[in-house]
């Protein structure tokens, strides 16, 4: 339990330092407006119900891409391809909605499957050829984005009109985004269940609840099932899992597929809201990369991803209030700093637990966790394998810092 608290504390410290850095940057750029704008940044998300609705609305896909990255992390893979999977998922959801006129839940399912397929390839290449999944999924980000753009610009209906674009449905000169669902297929819009009225915002729908439910489901799979046990064993130590008769290659592919499915579903949730249209992009969609931040802040815990996604969505909504005095990318800087800090979470955690130790000199988890029975006493010497690894790490670290 205490371990959990330390993880949360480490994340909170990273967040605080990141925000402080953001404030400094605001002061540097334009000192007169820095404090009021920083205040707005911190409070905008709860300033009124529609703003809160927007936080929740953006958090839903963010939770999904966060889960995608977190799930892959748990199984020893770095899915930096969430962006591509998200884009492809979004496209397939819109394809089902606009071209095939299917109801919203089928479209969501389509985005799930499409994301899984886009995750399948990097997984397969990793499993069969041991090609680094980071490189592959980056390549698939670009391939996915370009393929989606190409399809959006070329798919035609029976009348020869570009079916994905507004022009097939209403007279509109817009050529750089897809048709809005409100006229193309209202059935494909995710139900609002009265929440839009409650929050007085058109953004609000049930997607946040879908995302939370899936996060919980994923936690159960990882922590309570044999499948999750196998995936984690594989992620922590591939050789040992093979030794235990687990099909590691199959698990790598499955992990990447599930991970991709999560990101794909995120794309579906966002673009089936009825309030967003897919814009023909020249750059990769940031939602997938923000998923990395979500996962890192949550230390790859699915439940934690809910909260970290809410946080990131919250400051992003706050970031909009920075404009036009500051670029809203200020928020990205803050998030990047937070992630940079969480990269040495281990160090932060060590410092925190040291602080706790000196604070209360009685027994704590760390000292209990490092048993020193007679059998171990001498094991310090021959180094490799004999010294408990945790103890070894700390010696290394203290040496490193001294130097």
């Amino acid at each position: 339990m205490k371990k959990g608290i330390i993880s949360v504390l480490a994340s909170v410290i990273s967040i605080l330092v990141g925000l402080l850095f953001g404030l400094l940057l605001l002061i540097l750029v334009n000192s007169s407006q820095a404090f009021p704008k920083f205040g707005e940044l911190l409070t905008a998300g709860v300033s009124n119900l529609p703003k809160l609705a927007k936080v929740l609305y953006q958090a839903a896909p963010l939770i999904m891409t966060g889960l995608a990255v977190a799930f892959a992390f748990k199984t020893g893979l770095f899915n930096i391809g969430a962006s591509g999977q998200y884009t492809v998922g979004a496209f397939c959801a819109l394809l089902c909605a606009i071209v095939f006129q299917l109801p919203w839940w089928v479209c969501l399912l389509a985005s799930f499957v499409a994301g899984a397929i886009w995750g399948f390839f990097p997984g397969l290449f990793k499993a069969l050829f041991n090609v680094n999944e980071v490189i592959t999924s980056i390549m698939f980000n670009w391939i996915g984005m370009m393929a989606v753009n190409l399809l959006c610009m070329n798919l035609k209906n029976a009348d020869g009109k570009l079916v994905m674009l507004p022009i097939a449905w209403v007279s509109s000169p817009i050529k750089d985004r897809t048709a809005a669902l409100s006229y193309a297929n209202p059935n494909a819009i995710i139900p609002k269940a009265g929440l839009d009225k409650l929050f007085n915002s058109n953004y609000m729908n049930i997607s946040i609840f879908i995302a939370i439910a899936i996060a919980i489901l994923l936690w159960v799979v990882l922590n309570r099932t044999t499948f999750g046990y196998e995936l984690k064993a594989c992620g922590y130590n591939k050789n040992a899992s093979i030794y235990a008769g687990i099909n590691a290659k199959r698990n790598i592919v499955l992990s990447m597929m599930i991970s991709g499915a999560m990101a794909g579903l995120g794309g579906g949730l966002y673009y089936l809201s009825g309030t967003a249209e897919y814009t023909i992009q020249k750059v990769l969609l940031p939602m997938g990369f923000n998923g990395i931040s979500v996962a890192l802040l949550a230390t790859s815990n699915p439940i934690g991803s809910i909260f970290s996604a809410l946080f990131i969505s919250y400051i992003q909504v706050g970031g909009e209030s920075l404009q036009p005095v500051y670029a809203k990318e200020m928020i990205d800087i803050i998030i990047a700093v937070i992630i940079y800090l969480s990269a040495f979470a281990l160090l932060t955690k060590t410092i925190i637990s040291k602080y706790i130790r000196t604070d209360k000199s009685n027994v704590n988890e760390e000292s209990k966790a490092a048993p020193v029975p007679a059998a171990v006493t001498g094991n310090a010497e021959d180094g490799a394998g004999l010294l408990p690894d945790t103890a070894k790490k700390t010696t290394e670290e203290s040496e490193g810092v001294e130097k």
């Binding site: 980071v134 370009m146 281990l346």
Partner: protein, 330 residues
């Protein structure tokens, strides 16, 4: 024939950033640090190089400063800023022993955001593109000569930048540094077996810092070279070239000469993608929109994938024992 000259000169100009950045990645990884932050380093280098050109613009236009001298200053500035940015990676991954991939990812997120914010600050609200002055190119006037032959003219002066020549020098220097000096031997030892290096008194920390900083320098210049090659000004992005360079490095087996070959190869496909509409024998897919913007530009990425798969089997051979020491990826 003219097309051939165009293709060759464009290939070279696109190979330059790949070569530089992949060499940078090689120095970092051979010292034992996975440098996934190359993309971010490139962005910072490009940003600062372009800003420097902007600042020197007035002086050059007024004739107080030679155009190529200004380019040299901008190039060095890009490299130095790359070093400064790479220090963030070095500090996190060497001193704090942070996860190298995550630290690098954070820097990749930081760089474009920082670039946009800085561009705003320098150019004013909403001005997100830094334009490249025309004097950055080496032309016939630079040497005060006239080349009549259109083939040679296109080959030599269509895409000619100082960075290309600097790259040739840096590449040769890099090869010598790695294979012929005490420093290179020690650097490689740190990437292969840091305990062995430490046991003979080599400071692994120092060598790794050096490796990462060299990658910062080369990455920064590579970023500027990319922006020059792309031609449409700096827009806080290098279009995934940093990652492409990583792939080039892997495909080039962490060896300079192979990396040179790999970068020329990839650049060729990039150029075929970009010039597809003007190359006679490339199919044009009549009736499809966005072929030149989306279909052909996919080529380098797809080719990269295929080559990585094909070479992955070979890299299991003992030859690839040069894979850098790291528990992380790959």
């Amino acid at each position: 024939m003219i097309v051939l000259a165009d293709v060759i000169s464009a290939t070279i100009v696109f190979a330059v950033p790949l070569l530089l950045v992949a060499m940078g990645g090689m120095f970092s990884e051979r010292s034992g640090i996975i440098n996934i932050a190359l993309e971010g380093i490139m962005i910072i280098g490009a940003l600062m190089g372009c800003l420097m050109m902007r600042w020197l613009d007035a002086a050059v236009v007024a004739g107080q400063l030679g155009a190529q001298l200004a380019m040299l200053i901008a190039t060095l500035f890009a490299g130095v800023c790359g070093i400064v940015f790479s220090v963030l990676l070095a500090f996190a991954s060497i001193n704090l022993k942070a996860d190298q991939t995550i630290g690098g990812t954070a820097l990749n997120m930081l760089a474009p955001a920082l670039a946009i914010v800085l561009t705003w600050v320098v150019q004013g609200q909403g001005q997100t593109t830094i334009l490249i002055p025309t004097w950055s190119r080496i032309t016939q006037e630079t040497f005060g000569i006239t080349v009549a032959n259109p083939f040679l003219q296109n080959l030599l002066f269509k895409n000619s930048y100082l960075t290309t020549f600097i790259t040739v020098l840096l590449f040769i220097a890099g090869v010598i540094l790695l294979y012929k000096t005490k420093f290179g031997l020690r650097l490689m030892a740190c990437g292969e077996h840091p305990q062995a290096a430490a046991s003979v008194g080599i400071n692994v920390f120092k060598m790794r810092w050096a490796g990462v900083m060299i990658s910062g320098f080369l990455g920064g210049i590579g970023g500027l070279a990319f922006t020059l090659a792309a031609g449409s000004g700096f827009q806080s992005s290098v279009a995934g070239y940093g990652f492409l360079a990583l792939a080039v490095m892997i495909f080039g087996n962490w060896k300079p000469w192979s990396i040179l070959g790999a970068s020329l190869f990839f650049a060729l496909f990039k150029v075929i993608g970009a010039y597809a509409s003007s190359i006679p024998f490339m199919p044009q897919f009549k009736g499809l929109e966005g072929v030149s913007t989306y279909l052909y530009p996919m080529l380098p990425y797809i080719i990269t994938m295929i080559l990585l798969i094909l070479t992955s089997k070979k890299s299991r051979a003992p030859k690839a024992e040069g894979i850098p020491y790291d528990k992380g990826m790959r």
